[in-house]
């Protein structure tokens, strides 16, 4: 049984906030052409998901949400490291910072 009273505000506020941040992240990935900013937008999306995990964990008094958030942080760290390595390699090989011009994998 969820306990909304345990949260500072109603759970709907957290859902909306998380949704808005996630959408901002999506907009960043779609609209920006700088791969570094795209990676940062992906971090925004990870964190929006994390916020929701923790809000629901608090609401249900169940720390499985904390474990999930921990896993998400780990995967986000791995993703950032590999993504940045790919960016460095692409820059090194093609001297290019625009993802639209790096379209080798395009069908």
């Amino acid at each position: 049984m969820p306990h909304e009273s345990l949260l500072p505000v109603a759970i709907l506020n957290y859902i909306s906030l998380s949704f808005v941040i996630f959408l901002i992240g999506v907009a960043g990935v779609v609209l920006r052409r700088n791969p570094l900013v795209m990676l940062m937008s992906i971090e925004l999306m990870w964190n929006a998901a994390n916020l929701l995990f923790l809000a629901f964990a608090r609401s249900w008094m169940n720390n499985a949400g904390h474990i999930f958030a921990f896993l998400v942080i780990t995967v986000a760290a791995a993703e950032a490291a590999i993504g940045l390595a790919i960016v460095v390699v692409v820059f090194r090989a093609r001297a290019n910072v625009d993802v639209d011009e790096v379209a080798l994998m395009k069908g």
Partner: protein, 207 residues
């Protein structure tokens, strides 16, 4: 109550700043504010351990990685010593930002155990952790002890998988960007690529 809305405003504003900033470094600064505000919000959700992890891993490790990559890719474009000294101009705002963030953090830490007392009885009854008590005790929801117990007993396998994921990531990064990466054949070619990179960065900066 009001803290939530202040934090939500900071979170959304900094997120928008991240995706609209002209230079990647400014985006990193926006992301830093975002993560700090998020850590405060985690404190308000009684997730102390994850709030600290958020600051250490995200603001500490991941953002430093971003800054290093930006510095690496733009090295040679404008040496750090050549630019104008901006310190006098930004010292005031920077100090203000640090004080505000620290104030938020301290406020968040101070309010960790401030939970509704009527939830405690239900929590104790259902056998889960209680919500009120000294910070850090093992039976308080979201405390380091509580989280650690859950992580190393019921969720040991996910924790091990975490280690595996990080190992794969490290190996992948070394293979991709390591010393012997087979993308630059010779020193001469490396110098040409470096010059092209600089020009590309300059073009990207004007965007």
């Amino acid at each position: 109550m009001i803290e939530f809305y202040i934090l939500a405003f900071v979170l959304i504003a900094s997120a928008i700043f991240v995706i609209t900033a002209k230079k990647a470094v400014y985006s990193v600064v926006g992301l830093l504010v975002h993560f700090a505000a998020l850590a405060v919000m985690y404190f308000s959700l009684a997730a102390e351990f994850l709030a600290v992890i958020q600051i250490i891993v995200y603001s500490g490790a991941i953002l430093m990685l971003f800054v290093f990559v930006i510095a690496l890719l733009s090295s040679g474009v404008a040496p750090f010593s050549a630019g104008p000294n901006r310190l006098p101009k930004i010292a005031g705002p920077a100090l203000f930002a640090v004080i505000v963030i620290l104030g938020f953090l301290i406020y968040g830490v101070a309010h960790v155990p401030a939970a509704a007392p009527h939830g405690a009885a239900q929590a104790a009854q259902s056998g889960t952790a209680s919500i009120a008590g000294p910070v850090g005790a093992a039976n308080v929801f979201g405390s380091v002890g509580d989280f650690g117990k859950a992580l190393f007993t019921t969720n040991l396998l996910p924790f091990e998988i975490t280690a595996f994921i990080l190992m794969v990531a490290v190996i992948g990064v070394i293979l991709l960007a390591g010393e012997s990466a087979p993308y630059v054949q010779s020193r001469r070619r490396a110098r040409i690529v470096e010059r092209e990179m600089r020009e590309a960065i300059l073009r990207a900066g004007e965007e």
